[in-house]
Symmetry: C2
Subunit: 195 residues, 2 copies
């Protein structure tokens, strides 16, 4: 067991290094050599944990999705009120601080890459499905019918994704505080629409 | 003059070939060799028109932005009514048919790449600014105040971008007809909000 844990932990550290590189310098910054250097190991060690650059890309994508998802779930576990719960499901995925900005950059960089890669696309679709479910649950808790919540959750996710894309790639138009204001407006609107 | 036109037209054809490749197979499909083959020329000819793969990437990105922009402007020129004008500014950027799907794939693929590339980022920001202006004008024509229109146009663009990302990377959840329905809903909502 310790050996498996160790293997898992190493893969995680290497995937984290890959995320930092992509977050800072985009996809072009992601080379096996740079990842090994960033993680403080040799490319030989990296080859022991990842068969290829594609394998590393998939691991980095999954890592970001898992980090965001587990942060949402842990915050939701501490928050009983429905409106703040909706806020958590939307704001944890948006680039409101350095960590989330890095995560969002990695996410959209890999989504772009996923255009030609069925495995990444499937991974992305399943992550979006999990997120959708969390937003839906928050809307139902706010008093929406399940049917209403399903339609609205898809809209909210599309809107948060779109705001994120704007904030990442045209940053001058969406500084973090304005992005936050917009997300708060979404939550208030959802609250106001509750019966 | 004929020589310049010819040079421009060749670059355009090569950039179109690059777009078709990225639209079908993602960024990984974009190699100078593949572009030359797709366009029916040798890599030697390609090297005469583009200094590097980056140069080609920038040209392909710009080509998509110009095609979408000129299609919007040409349709707007034939449409006097404000609500259909808003529809044009939103729907021409969304993946509602094969052409627009290819364009959107290219756009978001290159945006992802742009995370590490200041020139692409600047290009993207200036394209978004042009689009924003067209949407704002359509909202003002619908009777919104300039201040309102500025806020709402940014929201609409973010929403269309987010829907597009969902439709491209999690296609099962947003088939074209549903995407279209959602865009029509946005236009109706904007009309209803008009004084």
């Amino acid at each position: 067991v310790p050996k498996i844990v160790h293997h898992h932990e190493r893969r995680r550290q290497l995937a984290q290094a890959a995320c930092r590189l992509v977050g800072a310098g985009g996809l072009e910054a992601l080379t096996t050599r740079a990842v090994a250097r960033e993680a403080g190991w040799s490319t030989g060690v990296l080859a022991h944990y990842f068969n290829s650059r594609d394998d590393l890309v998939a691991a980095a994508f999954r890592l970001v999705a898992e980090d965001v998802g587990s942060r949402m779930r842990s915050k939701l576990a501490d928050e009983p009120d429905p409106a703040p719960r909706l806020w958590i499901t939307l704001s944890e995925a948006a680039p409101l601080d350095e960590t989330r900005r890095m995560e969002a950059t990695v996410w959209f960089t890999f989504l772009g890459l996923g255009a030609g890669d069925d495995a990444l696309r499937t991974e992305a679709a399943s992550r979006y499905a999990v997120w959708l479910r969390l937003v839906e649950d928050a809307l139902v808790a706010l008093g929406r019918s399940p049917g209403d919540a399903a339609v609205e959750a898809r809209r909210l996710i599309a809107f948060v994704d779109g705001l994120t894309v704007q904030a990442l790639f045209d940053g001058s138009t969406w500084p973090a505080e304005e992005l936050e204001r917009e997300l708060r407006w979404l939550v208030e609107r959802a609250q106001a629409a509750a019966p």
